[in-house]
């Protein structure tokens, strides 16, 4: 996960995005490693995120939810969400917390 924002603000963004849960796996999109980059350019908050597979039917849902949740949390900022496929997501991108949650489900 890359951030081009002050550390506290970046943490706030990631904590907010943890409310979005991948419905199949049951783990939030941050710990699943789907959020690649967060940056702040003036009043525009930009997020690059991916999905576990390019054909994932959740693409529209996750992009809209990310936009909505960030607009609500940071009402003074413009929010731009980009869905990206490079680099392709792999299970190595799951965070330590995500792995802990996966193991707890076993």
């Amino acid at each position: 996960m890359e951030t081009h924002v002050p550390e506290d603000f970046g943490n706030e963004v990631f904590e907010t995005l943890k409310y979005i849960i991948d419905p199949e796996v049951g783990i939030n999109i941050v710990d699943l490693g789907l959020v690649y980059e967060v940056s702040l350019d003036g009043d525009t908050l930009e997020v690059n995120l991916t999905l576990t597979t390019p054909g994932c039917p959740m693409s529209g849902t996750i992009v809209n939810a990310t936009e909505q949740i960030l607009l609500k949390r940071f009402p003074n900022l413009d929010v731009k969400v980009n869905l990206v496929w490079s680099p392709p997501w792999s299970t190595e991108m799951i965070t330590a917390e995500g792995m802990r949650q996966l193991e707890a489900k076993n």
Binding site: I21, P23, E24, G55, P57, S59, A65, L83, T91
Partner: protein, 435 residues
């Protein structure tokens, strides 16, 4: 970084009616089975067995596969479905054709009505095949999964055309050889060409996805595709024109192809990050295990083993049952609970994600009910196989009761999902947000 488009999912009215029809067809199939225990004592060319086979293959399996595929095709091929309208029309023709065909076989009415039924089915398969091919043409990259799916659709159309020719032959008698000769062709193209290739193609994408596993080596899948198709093509030409003793070799090619797919699944699953196998995936693995039975039996029925005629007839029936009531039904039951809850959830809750605490797809159905139906299914299947092999009507009846229980539990679960309404949701407050 390349930007992507939003969701490719089709509308729910394209997909969900297929699940409803298939569930009701499963109940109808089980009830018909209850009244057909006397049909398993002789040859497979029997009105009741023809009815059962076609209700299972068309109303239950193909109907559900059509519906699921309209949802999954965009996932596998990474593009939108070519036409939702074609899908809806294909649904109408498949539904009407199946009901008519079942009625005609049950009453052994081989006149114009069965011609209408067969034409209706071929129209449906044609529209479906056009939709699949055109969707595949929109795909950003061509994959081995696309090969499997597109080829399976073509085999389905061919199965339907052979079926139509046989139905016309009932009244016009123009085919040079007896009916059962073509029935073998029709059955094997349908089983190996349509069901097997389609299930492998979709499974190769979905099983790793559901297990959070990464498939890296597709060599086995490529060989699987080549061998199954080669086996099938050699079988068709030999069966129609040459009549050699090489049938076990062609069957062997198909068997090796399937084994390569199973090895692919095994190797991929070793890299999985998810070890919590839910009931839907457990049932899917049971289905893959059940696939071993028809693989052994296809070698037996294609080899000239000089078995007693009565035993050979029973083995033929067990072979058919192991495909339709075994592998195909088991995988459909399992995958229904992987796909349908997700589809229903997506249409019901997509606008609430991130704003309200929503349930997960697995929370939308009753797990106890699903556990029960997995058990009644397996018991029903084993009893049916035993009854047919022993030619014991009481045991066949017990198996039919097991299937009826399974179909009722399945249909209750499916309709609970289809009729799901969004409950009152609790909004998130996002820590110290001014929300």
């Amino acid at each position: 970084m390349s930007a992507a488009t939003t969701s490719n999912s089709p509308g729910k009215w394209v997909v969900l009616p297929h699940y409803a029809f298939a569930a009701l067809a499963f109940v109808a199939l089980s009830i018909l089975l209850l009244f057909s225990t006397d049909a398993f004592g002789g040859h497979y060319f029997h009105p009741k067995l023809l009815t059962l086979t076609h209700v299972a293959a068309l109303g239950w399996a193909t109907m559900l596969i059509f519906g699921a595929l309209y949802q999954l095709l965009p996932v596998v091929l990474e593009c939108k479905l070519y036409s939702e309208k074609l899908a809806t029309i294909a649904f109408g023709f498949l539904g009407a054709g199946t009901i008519l065909l079942a009625w005609c076989f049950w009453h052994f009415e081989l006149g114009y009505l069965i011609h209408v039924a067969a034409c209706s089915l071929v129209i449906s398969f044609t529209l479906f095949t056009i939709n699949v091919i055109q969707t595949a043409r929109l795909a950003p990259k061509w994959t081995i999964e696309a090969d499997f799916i597109v080829t399976s659709a073509i085999w389905l159309l061919l199965t339907g055309i052979v079926g139509l020719v046989m139905v016309l032959n009932f009244t016009m008698a123009f085919l040079p050889v007896e009916h059962t000769h073509y029935l073998k062709l029709h059955a094997h193209i349908g089983m190996a060409g349509w069901f097997l290739l389609l299930i492998i193609g979709v499974g190769a994408k979905l099983i790793p996805m559901f297990l959070l596993a990464h498939a890296e080596n597709f060599k086995k899948l490529n060989w699987s595709y080549n061998l199954i198709n080669a086996g099938l093509v050699f079988f068709i030409f030999d069966h129609l024109f040459f009549h050699t003793a090489l049938l076990p070799v062609y069957a062997g090619l198909v068997v090796v192809g399937v084994v390569l797919f199973l090895l692919f699944v095994y190797e991929t699953s070793k890299t999985r990050q998810r070890h919590d196998v839910d009931l839907g995936m457990k049932q899917t693995f049971v289905a893959l295990g059940l696939l071993l039975l028809p693989l052994v039996l296809v070698i037996v029925v294609s080899s000239n083993l000089n078995l007693p005629q009565q035993l050979l007839s029973s083995i033929y029936l067990v072979y058919g049952i192991s495909v339709f009531f075994g592998f195909v039904s088991a995988i459909i039951v399992g995958q229904t609970f992987k796909t349908l809850p997700f589809i229903v959830w997506m249409h019901a809750y997509e606008n609430y994600v991130g704003r309200f605490k929503t349930p997960l797809p697995k929370d939308l159905y009753n797990h106890t009910l699903q556990r029960c139906l997995n058990i009644t299914y397996l018991l029903g299947f084993l009893l049916l196989l035993t009854g047919v092999l022993l030619r014991n009507q009481q045991v066949i009846l017990a198996g039919a009761i097991g299937f009826t229980l399974t179909s009722v539990l399945y249909t209750v679960s499916v309709f609970q999902l289809l009729l799901h309404k969004v409950q009152e949701l609790k909004p998130f407050t996002y820590g110290n947000a001014r929300a």
